[in-house]
Amino acid sequence: MPVDLDNSSTVSGDASVSSTGNQNQTPKSVGKKKRNLPGMPDPDAEVIALSPKTLMATNRFVCEICNKGFQRDQNLQLHRRGHNLPWKLRQRSSKEVRKKVYVCPVAGCVHHEPSRALGDLTGIKKHFCRKHGEKKWKCEKCSKKYAVQSDWKAHSKICGTKEYKCDCGTLFSRRDSFITHRAFCDALAEESAKNHTQSKKLYSETVTRKNPEPDQKSPPVVESPPSLQPSSSLPSVAVAPAPAISVESEPAKVISSSVLSIQNSPESPENNPPEVIIEEASRTIGFNVSSSGLSNDHSSNNNGGYAGMFVSSTASPSLYASSTASPSLYASSTASPSLYTPSSSIEPISLCLSTNPSLFRPTIQDPPHFLTPLPPQPAMSATALLQKAAQMGSTGSGGSLLRGLGIVSTTSSSMELSNHDALSLAPGLGLGLPCSSGGSGSGLKELMMGNSSVFGPKQTTLDFLGLGRAVGNGGNPGGGLSALLTSIGGSGKIDVFGSGEFSGKDIGRSS
């Protein structure tokens, strides 16, 4: 017969039948405490309903000497030692302790039912305070109030630390809700449209063209557009770009693929690749990465996958081309580097080059950067700069850059020395440098090399005098220019990286 204590009943509610069998169970081993699954309290546990006063009490054990309160008797006993009072630590009771579960005393509360009893004393106390208590703790930064101190502490730790702000002004504390919102946010779509000043005209063209030509997508991209079309709240951006779209719309394509990837998540949850890509996108913000992921369908969908993605995209001449593997995605044409567009995208190219999610990282806090590949650019990460310098060193293409900037350094004697040093240090450094770039290094270098050729043709209107500006401003107006000219000498070719900002600005000045 089940033992029936005065103010408790077995959880099953049926005193006779169900617990008879349980009575003869072997007692639980004293080693590991078995935890019941949440929501399913132990059927033969003793149900206890404590009074509200007991539940709200904080320190039940009080020292008689100094009135310090303790939550546990054990702690009080240890404390009493300090007062040289007699103390006794209770041993764990040798007889088998019946498991207790607690119900909330407030009638009408969910946890008032024995079947919804909580197994933990602390738990029921916290529950009682939260639901039926007064909210005494208030967060300083926002106006949230809490009844339980630990809740308040936990909240104030994260309050205001992580905030994502959409362009439309809405604030989010959770990344997932932020991303979902952004996918649908109208303001964001307009923003991204506005930022493509070069391709604005064509963008709208592509926009209109996209809608009537949805079938131009090639099979690999099964997962994305079709599902997007009907429900898309960004009709202009979501659909696959038509293949015949001219060059300048590449950035738009990129945008579309990025938004595409974002949208994919809510739209087609059953498809793995888009989701994973969203993960990627949300984590790395490399929308380039994400779309190349789309195209290449790589399984390397974690952080380690960057290298993979970039390497895989070295097939196409430049990173941009691959990642707007939208061309390969949606059409069979591969964008050739010369298609590349005006100056403003050069920086993004160099940005992309630095396989650094670190680069993309800040943009997660800052949505405009995320979706707009065009600057205002954060500076290139230092690691990327070093790699670039190393690259320039190994291909020799950067020398003229430095010349162009009027960089001078060593006299010929130290040149010899440094050569010597270089030679002697070569083994170590040769080892060190490629290694340091790791897996992405090879891809990166190829890309960089690819890109240096990209840079060349682009700078068609680069102002020679603009270059001269850097050189000639200082004490050598004519001299510097002529020096520049003579140093460049017969080849007459200069590869200057960087934006076309030099172009045209100083035409008036030097002539």
Binding site: N75, L78, T284, N303, G304, A307, P357, S358, L359, R361, Q377, P378, A379, M380, A382, L385, L386, A390, G396, S397, G398, L401, L402, R403, L405, V408, S409, T410, T411, S414, M415, D421, A422, L423, S424, L425, A426, G428, L429, G432, L433, G438, S453, P457, Q459, T460, D463, R469, V471, N473, G474, N476, G480, A483, S491, K493, D495, G498, E501, I507
Partner: protein
């Protein structure tokens, strides 16, 4: 006048290390160097170009410093100080600290001048600032967190079934590490052991604070616990002070401490050079003599030094990699071995900043600190004072030490994991591979909490924490091998 610009066909003359070559480019016009006016146009450079220019300048300057041409170094420093700034972007900040280090290095070649300046500079390194910066490092980077996690797991696994556990912390500055261990011990199935933690640190306040926090936690959880503080610098530590009882289950944790021992070795080595000349048949000592005569300036001969330092005082054991002579380090490791710990967990930087040539160190440390500064850039806004503090007081000081100091002054002697593994192995320890579960937890830690960009990879049983692909720190566990 507009000219068409196409690709340059000039190939570099020295087809060796790319970065080195980069620094030697465009060596044509010394005249422009003299004029100071290019500077204001330099300010209009885009960040990327400026960054590259900074790298170029740094390398050039270091070249000059290494070769002793101080005039040129001075000119380069001038340009650097115009462009670099501790409040600028990542590259500017790095350049600022490296510039300072190089300048310090030059200054040290006039010891009188240096000392005179240092004397009146009040070094207000109050303890609380240091503690604050350490805390910031703990918060801003996952490195210590991962290290503590792995250390604790290794200890837990080694101490399975033990009733009395004694842990020695060679740098007891962060209570969080042991708080976590106490909690972990508390929740292990067989119940918590009797735990004793001995903390070594040179600042008493830090130890007091640690004692307070740990005792509080242990009382809360009702675990028998004892904290023994040992106020001492690590290199003057006497193992007797640690009070290890025989038969105790001992664990040792060393977080970023071992490399300081290498500093004293360098000095010893130089002093004992003559003695070893007779003892050593391998004939490498010509270089050593040269080195002694050159004093602290890094010269080409020193390049050979590191290659021939296979001489190890502990015997003829063939080292596959050259080790710097390691008298003090070895004796410390031997002492640790003598205590026969069940597990010793070592966290160290995994970078080669201990080359004897300045350029070597500069190049390597450029990469390492570029990675570290990048981490900060992505996590903390530029205007944050905390970030500037970490950069200045932690990394800046390390950089200064690596670049400007030599001999026993240079305490930041980071070495690659391989070298450490060799050393520790030589001292009689066997590697304990970190468990799968530990690595899993570490990876999870890095994936959550916004530590994107960090990776952790496993290298022969040891964990290496990388930023992107650049290894930064390593954690390895060792047991006493009889």
């Amino acid at each position: 006048m507009v000219a068409m610009l196409q690709e340059d066909n000039v190939t570099s003359s020295v087809a060796s290390s790319p970065l080195q070559v980069f620094s030697t480019m465009s060596l044509n016009r010394p005249t422009l160097l003299a004029s100071s006016s290019p500077f204001h146009c330099l300010k209009d450079l885009k960040p990327e170009e400026r960054g590259l220019y900074l790298i170029h300048l740094l390398l050039t300057c270091a070249n000059h410093v290494a070769s002793g041409s101080l005039q040129n170094a001075n000119a380069a420093l001038e340009q650097l100080s115009h462009l670099a700034s501790p409040d600028g972007d990542t590259m500017q900040r790095i350049a600022a600290y490296f510039t300072e280090a190089l300048a310090n290095r030059i200054l040290k070649s006039w010891p009188g001048l240096y000392k005179a300046l240092q004397a009146t500079q009040t070094r207000t390194n109050n303890v609380s600032e240091e503690i604050h910066v350490r805390r910031l490092f703990f918060d801003m980077f996952p490195i210590l967190k991962v290290s503590y996690l792995l250390t604790n797991r290794a200890i837990l696994e080694a101490m399975e079934g033990e009733k009395m556990v004694h842990v020695i912390d060679l740098d007891a500055s962060e209570p969080a590490q042991w708080l976590a261990l106490i909690q972990a011990f508390n929740s292990r199935p067989e119940g918590p052991p009797h735990l004793r933690i001995t903390g070594v640190h040179h600042q008493k306040e830090v130890l007091d604070q640690m004692a307070h926090r740990l005792i509080e936690e242990a009382e809360k959880l009702d675990i028998p616990f004892q904290f023994n503080p040992v106020v001492s610098r690590l290199d003057c530590l006497n193992v007797e002070q640690l009070r290890v009882k025989t038969g105790e289950a001992l664990a040792v944790s060393s977080v970023l401490q071992l490399h300081t021992f290498l500093a004293s070795d360098d000095d010893l080595m130089r002093k004992n050079c003559a003695v070893r000349f007779q003892n050593n048949p391998s004939g490498i000592d010509l270089q050593r003599v040269l080195m002694m005569s050159h004093g602290s300036a890094a010269e080409a001969p020193e390049n050979e030094m590191s290659n021939n330092n296979g001489y190890s005082p502990s015997g003829d054991s063939a080292s596959s990699l050259p080790l710097h002579s390691s008298g003090r380090t070895d004796s410390f490791l031997n002492a640790m071995w003598g205590l026969s710990p069940k597990v010793m967990v070592v966290t160290e930087q995994d970078s080669d900043h201990n080359g004897s040539a300045l350029m070597e160190r500069l190049l390597e440390s450029l990469y390492t600190y570029a990675a570290l500064f990048d981490c900060l850039e992505t996590k903390v806004p530029r205007t944050s004072q905390d970030r500037i503090k970490v950069e200045k007081m932690l990394f800046g000081e390390e950089i200064k030490n690596i670049i400007a100091c030599e001999g026993s002054e240079r305490r930041e002697r980071h070495e690659k994991l391989e070298k450490w593994s060799q050393r520790i192995d030589l001292a009689g320890f066997g590697n304990v591979p970190l468990s799968y579960y530990a690595m899993l937890q570490a990876r999870r830690l890095l994936q959550g909490c916004g530590f994107d960009g960090y990776r952790i990879k496993e290298e022969s049983g040891c964990a290496v924490i990388c930023w992107q692909d650049r290894p930064l720190y390593s954690v390895s566990a060792w047991r006493c091998r009889k």
